[in-house]
């Protein structure tokens, strides 16, 4: 029996409180897990390679960016594949989660109209599916690290769990908000696609953080307002582990500035913490907004 089972009254009224929403989501946690699993299952059910596709996607990106940036543009970043993957995988989680979440309520119209369950599960499970993909794709990265006996920044590895959590909260917050908006404004899906494309290039994934940060001034300040920047460079610091390596291009002895040189663990931890706090606040705001408009979903679909 459910927790409120026999004793309590379940109240359906015009508004639901934040606490009630969170309790309902918790009660449906098994369904959340199952819908994540279902999304992955359904995606690969009738494909021969199955989950390998998840890993092929970053592999292909790797080849393309490697050719373009390392061979053609000669950016000189040593161990470029490792550099790229340490940012790209976390970005994939973020963008797949948000893109999937945005269309989730409209796409799940059949059950939204016919079944009573916390609808927050739909966008959240899209983010969950992104998280599972992230872990699958990480296998590629970990294999590469082991294969090349790459030395990661051990003392910076504790940054990864909080950075991941902050990112998931942020993706969840935006996913909740955008999925609800998309019910009324169906253009949201398309706008989100474009926005994510722009956001990708505003985040230091294929180019180093210092390329922009070094310039100082207004542009750099603006750049640093992007919360994804701090998550990505925390990952790069922990995995790529080379703030200022020697250029790999040509015979030069130039140093390439990738990450802030004199930044210690607490520099990253502080920024990840700030992003995490903002993400948590946004998550609650997203939840509240969702709860406010959710009552109209079944009539608007």
């Amino acid at each position: 029996m459910q927790v409120e089972g026999d004793a309590g009254w379940r109240v359906v009224s015009a508004r639901v409180g934040l606490g009630q929403q969170i309790r309902d989501i918790w009660k449906y946690r098994e369904f959340l897990v199952l819908s994540v699993r279902t999304q992955l299952n359904v995606k690969y059910k009738n494909s021969a390679l199955g989950f390998l596709w998840s890993m092929l996607n970053p592999a292909l990106y790797l080849v393309v960016f490697y050719v373009v940036f390392q061979l053609i543009l000669e950016n000189g970043i040593p161990s470029f594949p490792i550099f790229l993957l340490s940012g790209l995988l976390i970005w994939n989680l973020f963008s797949a989660g948000i893109a999937g979440a945005t269309g989730s309520i409209v796409g799940g119209g059949a059950i939204v109209k016919k079944v009573s369950f916390p609808r927050e599960i739909l966008p959240l499970s899209a983010v969950g599916a992104g998280l599972v993909h992230f872990f699958l794709q990480s296998v590629v990265l970990v294999l590469a690290l082991v294969l090349f006996r790459y030395s990661v920044g051990w003392e910076y590895l504790p940054l990864i769990p909080p950075a991941l959590l902050a990112l998931v909260l942020l993706a969840g917050a935006l996913g909740l908000f955008l999925s609800a908006v998309n019910v009324r404004l169906r253009d949201t899906e398309h706008m989100v696609e474009l926005a994510l494309l722009a956001w990708f290039w505003m985040t230091p994934i294929v180019y180093p953080f210092m390329l922009i940060a070094e310039r100082g001034g207004f542009v750099a300040q603006l750049y640093k307002l992007n919360p994804l920047v701090w998550i990505v460079i925390a990952f790069q610091r922990a995995i790529y582990n080379q703030p200022q390596p020697k250029s790999a291009a040509g015979a030069g002895t130039d140093l390439i500035k990738i990450l802030p040189v004199d930044a210690d663990f607490w520099y990253y931890a502080w920024h990840v913490g700030v992003v995490g706090a903002i993400a948590a606040a946004l998550f609650l705001a997203g939840l509240a907004y969702f709860g406010r408009v959710e009552g109209n979903f079944s009539e608007e679909l």
């Binding site: 009254w9 098994e30 279902t38 359904v42 369950f117 009324r184 959710e294």
Partner: protein, 418 residues
């Protein structure tokens, strides 16, 4: 008895957009000019449903009964007021809603069950029962996209009723599936009633309400107009339909055949009202208590009428139908070779039925006053009355026939051991 559902001053408001503007371009071009009508689907509904009772929600199309069911289920939220519900709810609004066609029946049981609020452990425990109920043992590991629509629906029903709900909400889903499956659903519903679970049933089928429900609530244009025993509620429902029919007929006389009014029989529409039925009632005579009659008991049907005519061209008739609409018994004065002379003014007629040789069920009585050859209808009361026959046990079926069973053994030598 404790209440299990409390609907407290609930109103639900909808916006009916004339043309939905849902893309940004349309929004920007027509900012704040999206035309819509306010529409109250439900207004100030107050309803208390007792634990363990089965209640039918009836009403014409658009009366708000499905909206009310969705509010109780928590799929919609009220605009005003609140609904309080105690216990686990399973809502059968659409069987198999949320099935993933790419997944197998087995996977869908776990997915759909958890969507309905069941834990995986519970589902594992009930898995065999669900599969057996759905009769899908051979196909349970087949993707549901290969299922026939019957299989799909059976699986949906099997999962929903195995959620062990305290409250079961049903929206006309009993109309699906073949006859055998419908019977099974009905049996399951009876079992639910015996187990003291609460049920709310939305239906158009008045017979179903009579068969299954302890009470019924009638909605008319978003308002609760009656709530009581099935017979009374159905009468009120019919009266409201009749009222709508009259309004409609007044507006556009040519279009009296709206399908919503199909219950208005030809006879009722044709009634000249030169003689009107002012009242009719059933009196129980012997072998009967109030509200029901025992097999072979006696009832009388009393009809009060008012005549504008002095005529002998008149005929009083009676028909007794079962709830499925089959004629159990019927006759009139012409068939019985009787005649009568009427004077203008009020009068009364009594149909005496000293031996009701029926066994079990609810029966509906129709009274008609026509010309002697039944060519013209003066007035007609279609299924205005009902009585119930209570079977004391030991006999099955419909008709009460005298019976004795005699058995004789044949000579024992035939069973000689070789």
């Amino acid at each position: 008895m404790a209440a299990s559902i409390l609907v407290q001053n609930v109103s639900r408001h909808f916006r009916l957009y004339h043309e939905r503007q849902s893309t940004l371009k349309e929004r920007l071009l027509q900012f704040r000019r999206t035309p819509y009508d306010d529409f109250w689907a439900l207004r100030n509904i107050v309803l208390e449903i007792e634990k363990g009772s089965t209640i039918g929600l009836i009403g014409a199309n658009g009366s708000g009964k499905s909206t009310l069911l969705k509010l109780i289920a928590g799929i919609l939220r009220p605009s005003e007021g609140e609904v309080r519900v105690r216990g686990r709810i399973a809502a059968l609004l659409e069987l198999g809603a949320g099935f993933q066609s790419e997944l197998t029946g087995r996977e869908n049981i776990f997915l759909n069950g958890s969507l309905l609020g069941m834990s995986q452990r519970e589902l594992a425990r009930r898995f065999d029962e669900i599969v057996a109920f759905a009769e899908l043992e051979e196909f349970i590991d087949t993707q549901v996209r290969f299922y026939s629509s019957g299989m799909y629906v059976r699986l949906g029903f099997a999962i929903a009723v195995n959620v062990e709900p305290d409250i079961l909400l049903i929206d006309e889903v009993l109309a699906v599936g073949d006859e055998a499956f419908q019977r099974k659903c009905l049996e399951r519903i009876r079992a639910f009633q015996r187990e003291g679970r609460t049920m709310v049933l939305v239906t158009h089928a008045v017979e179903q309400v009579r068969q299954i429900c302890d009470a019924a609530a009638v909605l008319d244009r978003g308002e609760l107009v009656a709530h009581g025993p099935p017979g009374e509620a159905i009468r009120s429902y019919r009266e409201h339909l009749l009222e709508h029919a009259r309004e409609r007929e007044a507006l556009e006389p040519a279009e009296a055949t709206d399908d919503r009014l199909a219950f208005l029989t030809d006879q009722e529409r044709r009634a000249t009202k030169d003689i009107t039925i002012t009242d009719c009632r059933i009196e129980y005579r012997s072998g009967s208590a109030r509200g029901y009659v025992l097999p072979d008991g006696a009832i009388e049907v009393h009809v009060a009428f008012d005549s504008k005519l002095a005529t002998d061209d008149v005929n009083f008739g009676i028909a007794i139908n079962d709830v499925e609409g089959r004629l159990a018994f019927g006759t009139n004065m012409r068939l019985l070779g009787q005649r009568v002379q009427l004077q203008p003014g009020p009068g009364g007629a009594v149909f005496q039925l000293p031996r009701v040789a029926l066994l079990d069920g609810t029966f509906l009585v129709t009274i008609g006053i026509t010309t002697y050859d039944e060519g013209t209808v003066y007035d007609w009361a279609e299924e205005r009355l009902e009585f119930e026959v209570m079977n004391p046990g030991g006999l099955l079926g419909y008709a009460h026939l005298p019976i004795e069973i005699q058995v004789e053994s044949v000579s024992p030598t035939q069973r000689a051991v070789p």
